[in-house]
């Protein structure tokens, strides 16, 4: 069960080796989390993440392997993760995503793959997590979206478009959960220093994974549907959603 500050005792992390997810999981284990099921593609990375979770206080850590390019198996993956918790699940984190190389908008296979990993698989997984948590009567879902979902930018339009799709699904899903006892929160981090962002120019409001985790730990105790990290991005988002296209494109071009 969650405590009064929204800190869970059992957690399923889909995309468990993602650096943001690992930072959050560490903090959760340092608080109240004792059971963690990590799901991901890379067994070695999951094993590192599992060691970390144990070091921070988890007493039971399991893992599930899956491939986010197989959305038809997303439901089965979520079910397997829930079964491994073998207790009620307090929190499901969906941290599946890939920035992609972004070079070839013309390569249809690459486009399909990027959209699948960032949008289709997480959406399918969400549907199953929603069903299982409603049956349980309580629980929380945290979806790692992105600040890039706010407005599509020239260079990263595929990633940004896929995240925007997922984000929109989540906004609707959060509404659909009212009265069920299940909550959904959408995390929209700005650029976070991770492997995925290495080599990119650091735009303003870039933070580290631990900063994001800190903000999540506080937000879990609130009713906020959207969590901005850093919080100032809430206002930046309002601003850039209203920028004229010409100006927005110039800012986008400068970043490339």
């Amino acid at each position: 069960m969650e405590d009064a500050f929204g800190h869970p005792q059992s957690v399923v992390v889909l995309g468990g080796s993602s650096e943001i997810a690992r930072a959050i999981t560490k903090r959760l284990c340092a608080a109240r989390t004792r059971t963690v099921v990590l799901a991901g593609r890379n067994a070695a990375l999951l094993s590192d993440a599992a060691d970390e979770a144990r070091a921070y206080g988890a007493t039971k850590v399991e893992h599930v392997l899956f491939d986010a390019e197989e959305p038809h198996r997303a439901g089965a993956t979520v079910r397997e993760a829930f079964e491994k918790v073998d207790d009620p699940v307090d929190l499901v984190i969906i941290a599946v995503g890939q920035l992609g190389t972004q070079s070839g908008g013309e390569d249809s296979d690459a486009v399909a793959q990027l959209i699948t990993v960032n949008f289709t698989w997480p959406s399918a997984a969400l549907a199953e997590a929603r069903r299982l948590l409603i049956a349980q009567g309580f629980g929380r879902i945290l979806v790692i979206s992105s600040f890039a979902a706010v407005r599509s930018r020239g260079g990263a339009y595929l990633y940004s478009g896929a995240k925007a799709g997922l984000d929109r699904v989540c906004v609707g899903l959060a509404q659909s959960l009212e009265g069920t006892g299940v909550k959904l929160q959408i995390l929209r981090p700005g650029v976070v220093r991770t492997k995925m962002s290495r080599g990119l120019r650091e735009p303003p409001f870039t933070t580290g994974t631990n900063d994001v985790a800190e903000i999540v730990m506080r937000a879990l105790g609130t009713d906020d549907v959207v969590i901005w990290s850093p919080p100032i991005l809430r206002y930046v988002a309002v601003l850039i959603s209203h920028l004229p296209t010409a100006l927005w494109r110039r800012i986008g071009a400068r970043d490339e």
Binding site: M1, A4, F5, R32, G179, T180, G181
Partner: protein, 442 residues
Amino acid sequence: MSEVLVGWGGRLPATSTMRAPQCEDDVIRELASGEAMIARGLGRSYGDAAQLSGGAVLSNRGLSHIGPITDGVVTVGAGTSIDELLTHTLPEGWFIPVTPGTRQVTIGGAVAADVHGKNHHRDGSFANHVRSMRLVTPEGTLRVSPDDEPELFWATMGAMGLTGVVTSVELALARVETNQMVVDTDRFHDLASVMAEMRARDDNYHYSVAWVDCMRAGATMGRSILTRGRHATTDDVERSSLTPPGPSRLSIPFRAPSLALNAWSIRAFNEFWYRRSPEHEVEALVPIGAFFHPLDGLSNWNRLYGRRGFVQYQFCVPEQHGEAISHVIERLSESRVASFLAVLKRFGRANPAPLSFPLEGWTLALDLPVGAANLPALLDEFDTVVANANGRVYFAKDARLRREYVPMMYPRLDEFLRVKHRVDPRHQLTSDLARRLGLVSG
């Protein structure tokens, strides 16, 4: 019918299916369904004790009969509130032997939390005055008392409803002559002096409690107002009356903005409260309601804390670890976490119940608005202080205790779990609190 329930602190909403049994047979039928459930009274426990997310919650309010008083003993339905009981008994000169800070708790809830009052050092907790009760368990319905099924009787006291549903209680009342109290009030400029005075002279008083300002630092850290009193006799008053306390006159109609209670406004309130109290006053006459239940004058006062709500942290430590009290107040004051006037009291001897909260020594209750970033870690730190001092945290107030501490704070937990397993082998009676703290396994 599905309903969202919260504890008095306004945190941890739970969606549960409500059931409203009107008699013991209804309760037996509900339990026969085999569905997971917990009983609930007036929802005054602060955390998640009287709710079950995704399960059934049994309101005890339909079980509200009050029998005649015979030789000071009354048999009362578990869903009767202390307020309702007093309306019936006070005109006949009988008072509730132990009352918490509000009359708005049911008798079933008082058993579940084994509530204590300002007279614990003299009279013990609620359980000490229960002659017997009827308990519906998944394995059958029975009468339990200190002589019949004593193990189950005591295991039920303070067990937050996890051994069964109490349907009626045979309670020994206390004789009073008037509805007034004779009260002495003293202000103390720091914590050490109030604690010394309580150690030295609390035993001379029937009732005693101190309000502590936890937002002062330095020389005035823990400045306090100590009020102590006894029931007024007909000789103490000019016109004797036994009219019960009236309903609250003021109400908070909606949740205040979360920022309304912040460090500044709470500091100002604490200052006001301290200054309005007399430095030293002897034998003032105070109505029973104002003395025992000052917050009942303002119904829904918890809404002052806004949407974010608050947590209450109440712990007790044995006499020889009184320093834990000053340590906690000092850390709270240093950390600048907002905290309303805290309640400090001395406990007398513990009773035989394995999960009853009071231990002989000291207890401190803190009201803390949720929102400060350092609050969760600070309370975790307090848990360590309390556990190391062989103390414990009160389940009726809790919404965040680290479960690893439960067996340390309640060393007779296993004894309780054995009884629980005997009367509820499938762990049908459970709650969010029980699942969170591991009170249903074993």
